[in-house]
Symmetry: C2
Subunit: 254 residues, 2 copies
C-alpha cells in the first residue's frame, strides 16, 4: 500500500485565537481532499502555538539571576534564557548559544523548542518568540474530535516539531503530541521470515511519520504547516505521547 | 506536491550474489511503475548486505581477549561481541546486551548494526549474523548507475537501517549511505515569512526520507525492502553521507 503525504495548500498565516479546524477544513475542501477512515493530519507545532496565543514579547520577560548568569556564560539573551528555563525541567548540556534541556513535556531538545522565526511582530523593533503548546496531546485531541465530527470518520492527529539529534547533523521532524495514533509499534513476539524472534522490538512510528511529514512541510514555509497522510501502515489506536520518552534511568546519553 | 512512498511488491528473499538491479527492475515492472526523473529508490541495508555476502557464521569467529572480557561484562555472545568491535572505531557506552559504538562508517549505533534476524541459515543449528555493507555509499552508487542506465532518467538511491535514539524510545529509519540525494539541506540565508533569518539552518533530509521509507517497509518483512519514492521536495544533488555525521568535537552527547 502506498503512503501519501500531501501538504494542504495555502493555509493562511495563523493568529492568536484562529480556529485551526476551520482553516484545515477550508484547505481540504480547496484541495478536493475528502477525509477517509484512517487518515492522519500532521500539524506543525508553530501554528498550534500561535493559535493558542503562546507568543511572548521578550520585553515582557524579567530574567531571574539564574537566567542572567547562564545567559552570560553562553552568550544568549537573558530574557530568552529565562523562558527556556521556565519551560524546562532540567538542563542537560550548554554550549555557546544553545541550552539542551529536558522540556517540561518530557522530551530532550535544544532551547526548549522556543522559536524566533515566523512569529511576526506588529512592530519590527519588538522581539517575539513562540513557546511550544501548553499541552500538545490535548491540542491534538481537540483538533481530532472536531475534525472527526465534521467528517464522520476515524482520524489521527499528530503535532510535530523539528529537533536536532545527538550524533547526527541536521534536524528531523519528531512528534510532540498526538491523538488517535500509536507512539510506538511493538513488534515483540513477532518472528522474521525464518522464524527468529525479532531483535528490534519497538518502532518509533509516530516519530517516523513526523519525519516524513516534516520533509513535505519544509522549514521556511509556514505556508505548508498541515499535511494530509493516507496509507499509514499500522493500526490506529489511542497512543500516549510518553511512550516515546526514554525513562531517564534507561538513558545512556543524558 | 504530494510525496508518495510505495513498497515494491514481492521482492524475493535475497541470497549472496543476487543482482538487486534485476530484482528491483522486475518488481517495478510487476507493479507497473516506470521511473521518472527525480524518483528515489530506498533500499533496506539488509538486502544490500545479503547480496554482498556480508553474512557471517558465528562458528567461524574467534573472539579476542578484549571481546571475551566485554562479552562477560554485558552478558553477550563473545563471538558477536568480537564482530561488533571489529566493525567499530570506538565504544561509547555499554549496558547488558548492548554496545553503543561509533561504527567504522562514522555513525553512532547499537551493536554496530549487526543483525540476527532474517539471515536464514541453511542449517537451523547454525547461527549467522549480518554485517552492514562494506561501503554503503558505493553500493548505492552502483545501484543508481545501473538503474539510471536502464531507465534513462536521473535517480537517487538511499540505503537505510533502523537505529535506536538517545532520549526517545523506539527505532527510526536512518540513512547509512546514498547516491544522488542531499544528506543535509541547508536553509542558511533563507528568511521566514516575516523576514527573520531562520534559526534551523540544516535539515537532515536524507534521514527524514529514511524514516518515511522505514514506516512503509515495516520491520518484520524482508518482503518490503525496496520503496519507490516520488515527489521528494528538495533538489537532488551529489550528497555525501558524512554530511550527516556530527563531528565528535561538536557533539555534546558522546
Amino acid at each position: 500500500m502506498t503512503l501519501t503525504l500531501t501538504p494542504i495548500s495555502r493555509i493562511p498565516v495563523v493568529n492568536p485565537g484562529d480556529d485551526l479546524v476551520v482553516l484545515i477544513n477550508e484547505g481540504l475542501k480547496r484541495d478536493d481532499i475528502s477525509l477517509k477512515h484512517g487518515d492522519i493530519l500532521v500539524v506543525a507545532q508553530k501554528i498550534i502555538s500561535k493559535s493558542e496565543g503562546r507568543a511572548v514579547n521578550l520585553a515582557s520577560v524579567r530574567p531571574s539571576q539564574e537566567a542572567i548568569d547562564l545567559a552570560q556564560k553562553i552568550a544568549k539573551d537573558p530574557r530568552l534564557t529565562e523562558l527556556i528555563l521556565q519551560e524546562s525541567s532540567s538542563v542537560l548540556r550548554t554550549r555557546p548559544g544553545t541550552i539542551i534541556v529536558e522540556h517540561r513535556l518530557g522530551f530532550v531538545c535544544a532551547n526548549a523548542g522556543i522559536d524566533h522565526s515566523n512569529v511576526g511582530a506588529s512592530n519590527k523593533s519588538e522581539q517575539w518568540v513562540l513557546l511550544l503548546p501548553e499541552d500538545p496531546d490535548a491540542s491534538a485531541r481537540r483538533l481530532r474530535e472536531r475534525l472527526e465530527e465534521n467528517s464522520d470518520v476515524s482520524l489521527g492527529v499528530l503535532i510535530i516539531d523539528s529537533h536536532g539529534r545527538a550524533w547526527r547533523m541536521g534536524t528531523a521532524g519528531v512528534a510532540i503530541g498526538f491523538s488517535g495514533i500509536p507512539g510506538l509499534v511493538d513488534m515483540r513476539g513477532q518472528t522474521d521470515l525464518f522464524g527468529y524472534t525479532l531483535e528490534i522490538t519497538q518502532v518509533g512510528a509516530a516519530d517516523e511519520l513526523a519525519s516524513a511529514a516534516s520533509l513535505v512541510m519544509g522549514q521556511a514555509a509556514e505556508g505548508r504547516p498541515v499535511v494530509h497522510v493516507r496509507g499509514f501502515p499500522y493500526d490506529l489506536r489511542e497512543g500516549q505521547f510518553n511512550e516515546l520518552i526514554r525513562p531517564e534511568h534507561e538513558d545512556l546519553f543524558r
